[in-house]
């Protein structure tokens, strides 16, 4: 049965799905939850096409990514200036986090600041490989691009991030 199979797959991958949705929504938590919800619904109701492949993490990620894109498109259309202002995310803010829970939060904060300076594709690739521990091949599947293209973008992204890291004053 499609939906029970899907259900258990989603349950299993849920934490990483959430973090991926978060990355797709530029770390806007509310938006990520909404996107995730719509994506899950799509998968559970069998509205996301499997195209012969099995339910796998890359496939679920692909659905989430498309959902996020659509969501963003819809939102852009109706976005008022006000909303844009409100939704501007902290990724452009490079000041250190004052949170007492320093270690991870600070690292995350810094990383988001750096990632904001990469292209979307580069950011997605780095996230999938480093954060989600996917192979470049799986990542290319998620993004719907060829393996070769993925490799090129991945290398460029890494180089760029490295440079940013060394440039950035500590």
């Amino acid at each position: 049965m499609m939906s029970t199979q899907a259900q258990s797959a989603l349950e299993q991958h849920h934490p990483s799905c959430f973090t991926w949705a978060l990355a797709c929504c530029r770390w806007n938590r509310d938006e990520a939850q909404e996107v995730l919800q719509i994506a899950y619904l799509r998968i559970l109701e069998g509205r996301a096409s499997l195209n012969g492949t099995e339910i796998s993490r890359p496939w679920i990620f692909g659905v989430i990514r498309r959902t996020a894109l659509e969501h963003k498109r819809r939102r852009v259309v109706r976005t008022l200036a006000l909303e844009r202002w409100w939704r501007r995310q902290p990724e452009t803010d490079l000041s250190p986090s004052p949170s007492p829970d320093t270690g991870d939060l600070e690292a995350r904060h810094r990383l988001r600041g750096l990632l904001a300076r990469l292209s979307t594709r580069q950011r997605e690739l780095l996230h999938l490989v480093f954060y989600q521990d996917m192979t470049i091949e799986q990542a290319s599947e998620v993004l719907g691009i060829s393996l070769g293209t993925a490799r090129v973008h991945y290398e460029r992204a890494k180089t760029r991030l490295r440079r940013l890291l060394t440039q950035e004053p500590r």
Binding site: Q37, L80, L82, W85, R108, Y131, L165
Partner: protein
């Protein structure tokens, strides 16, 4: 550093990032069970509904034009003022720089504080901006800062069902029968209780900003006039308030005179040492109907603003009422802010209404922590119905009145639209010796609860009554503008048992009389000329040139016998052009009210006149409330043009 080291570093950063994210990840069940609507609400509420409502309003606007009868021709719903024809400026420029919450973890919490911060910043910039921009002719650009604030934080759109049709019929306003002209010979005495309520203006504003002219019965002119502070001089040391009378030509009838009577309460020293503290119990309606952006969330924000102003001398408690009522926060000193804010945060709407039980509980709490010598007050925040528990309104009012006599007053704060029971709230506050305000935006909440915290909280004189004796030698007829439900019998003036209005620290109260000189014709409602009396017998004093004698009675907040202030007023024959800015501004607001009400006594008063007078009364300081008034007048004028088209 080798590339390999770099890779490890990147890997480590991503891993740390993932750890941080996963700690915040919602449960799978949570995502699955949430209905989409629920998630939408989890976002800043007004953002979620803004775009949809804007579209809905556009559609409804068109529909309304085509289908609805004349009186409903204007779109009934909320309309983002930024997209309106008037004074629209792109909000982007008006808004402060983006907030930058330091992490997602802090974001949820930050949202509310950022929102307030934004308001604070806009307000602070308002004054400077207004001065810089100037208020030029018909444009309303100068009010843009204020508008941005209203747009950003004012009542977000009501849900679609409220856009037009039925829900309006459940809003109730008591019909106002305007005071008629009275002959000075037959009724030389005019007696009324002061009124410092301001709700009517906010209600009118809500209607007009929502694209609809207000119903006449929602327009209470004295409350509109009293919404604005006036610059009357503070009183001499030992009196609680100063009395300021100004007489000049009446704008809407060149043959008439307009008399403005202005009181200003003493400013209570806000020196911490002399403060006696306040014992406040918030009684918050959390029934299902409050679950709208411009209701409970606004209540919470309003109380958050107030909480900041409290200190250890104050006690604050929160009681909620819905299906059942309960104590959310037992009386807590005002310096334990985190506890108070956490309690506010927990409030959620849901359930029916059981106001009566909540009310009793609130008064019980107030009594338990009675602050003798200080302020004891129940602050009711609701959107309307208050009819269970004590079902009989008379019983409810009697209960509130009895509590007031025991030293616990009641302030009513009205929120939201649709089911709004204006009349009930007004009489509750009236009987509870408190005041009544309608809160349609966070800026209004700031005005009522924070800027006037001294006024709202500190009563400096109570049972303030005014009695005017007109001199028939110089006054043919007169009319009290507004104060329809505050008129007292002439015997009540000297009767200390008769309740009247309170005046708070720093409050100004203004009353306007329109006076007709003798010999001029005026339509007097319902009274035939006297058959046996032609000229009244005049005392020698009447020849002294005094237009009227003003008598004022008040009691100390603690009670006791009333005191009397009395002074004779001479009309120096000033023309309107010679009057003060305050006088002209008050006249502008009155003209606005008369024109909105289409009062039979409006004379030449039009919205255009209100605008003209308002401009003259704006003053060099560009008071932002007054600037907003100008915008409201312009907007009302364009609505009226649409309606007449």
């Amino acid at each position: 550093m080798t590339p390999h080291d770099d890779d490890n570093k990147i890997r480590e950063m991503f891993a740390a990032s993932r750890r941080a994210d996963l700690r915040e990840a919602p449960d799978f069940q949570e995502i699955q069970q949430e209905t989409p609507a629920r998630t939408v609400r989890a976002r800043p509420f007004w953002l979620a509904v803004l775009p949809a409502a804007a579209t809905a309003v556009m559609v409804l606007l068109v529909l309304a034009m085509l289908t609805v009868p004349q009186y409903m021709r204007a779109p009934a719903g909320w309309k983002p003022s930024g997209s309106g024809g008037l004074g629209s400026t792109t909000t982007e420029h008006q808004l402060p720089p983006p907030p930058s919450p330091s992490s997602d973890l802090a974001k949820d919490k930050a949202v509310s504080s950022v929102q307030e911060e934004a308001v604070a910043r806009i307000s602070a910039r308002d004054a400077a901006k207004l001065r810089a921009l100037g208020y030029i002719g018909g444009t309303v650009g100068a009010a843009a800062g204020h508008e941005a604030e209203m747009l950003a934080l004012a009542a977000p759109p009501p849900p679609e069902r409220e856009q037009f049709g039925e829900p309006f019929s459940t809003e109730s306003y008591t019909q106002i029968v305007e005071n008629d002209f009275l002959l000075a010979t037959q009724n030389p005495l005019s007696t009324f209780s002061i009124d410092v309520d301001t709700a009517s203006y906010s209600i009118v504003r809500r209607h007009i900003m929502g694209g609809m002219l207000p119903p006449a019965s929602a327009v209470r002119i004295e409350e509109m006039v009293n919404y604005f502070p006036y610059h009357y001089p503070p009183p001499a040391r030992d009196t609680p308030f100063s009395v300021n009378v100004e007489i000049a030509g009446c704008p809407w009838d060149p043959e008439h005179r307009l008399v403005s009577i202005g009181l200003r309460g003493r400013d209570v020293d806000h020196d911490r040492a002399s403060r006696r503290g306040a014992n406040l119990v918030f009684l918050i309606d959390v029934s299902g109907s409050m679950d709208e952006p411009n209701k409970l969330p606004l209540v919470k924000s309003a109380l958050t603003l107030l909480t900041r102003e409290l200190d250890g001398l104050d006690d604050i408690a929160i009681v909620v009422y819905a299906g059942s009522s309960g104590l959310v926060l037992p009386p807590t000193p005002g310096n334990r802010k985190s506890e108070i804010l956490a309690a506010l945060d927990r409030l959620e709407a849901g359930g029916g209404t059981n106001g009566g039980e909540g009310l009793r509980l609130a008064y019980d709490m107030a009594r338990e922590h009675l602050n003798s010598g200080g302020i004891n007050r129940v602050v009711l925040a609701t959107d309307g119905d208050f009819n269970l528990g004590i079902t009989d309104p008379q019983e409810l009012l009697a209960f509130v009145q009895e509590q007031a006599h025991r030293g616990i007053s009641l302030t009513a704060l009205g929120f939201g639209t649709g089911n709004y029971k204006d009349s009930m709230l007004e009489s509750l506050a009236d009987h509870g010796d408190g005041n009544y305000a309608y809160i349609d935006s966070l800026s209004e909440a700031r005005k009522v609860l924070v800027e006037q915290v001294g006024g709202t909280m500190e009563t400096i004189a109570k049972d303030v009554k005014i009695q005017i004796e007109f001199n028939p030698a110089l006054v043919g007829a007169y009319r009290l503008i507004g104060y329809e439900n505050r008129v007292l019998r002439k015997e009540d003036f000297n009767d200390d048992r008769k309740d009247a209005g309170e005046i708070g620290s720093g409050h100004t109260v203004t009353a306007l009389y329109e006076v007709v000189p003798p010999g001029k014709s005026v339509s007097i409602g319902g009274v035939d000329p006297l058959k046996y009396q032609k000229t009244p017998s005049l005392t020698p004093e009447s020849a002294g040139g005094e237009l009227l004698t003003l008598k004022l009675r008040y009691k100390d907040p603690a009670g006791g016998d009333s005191r009397l202030i009395s002074s004779a007023i001479v009309d120096e024959g000033r023309r309107l052009e010679e009057s003060s800015e305050d006088f002209r501004f008050a006249a502008a607001v009155a003209a606005f009210g008369l024109a909105l009400r289409e009062s039979p006594h409006r004379g030449n008063a039009t919205l255009e006149m209100a605008r003209e007078l308002g401009l003259q009364g704006l003053g060099p300081n560009m008071d932002s409330y007054r600037v907003e008034f100008m915008k409201l007048v312009d907007r009302a004028a364009s609505l009226r043009r649409q309606a007449n088209r």
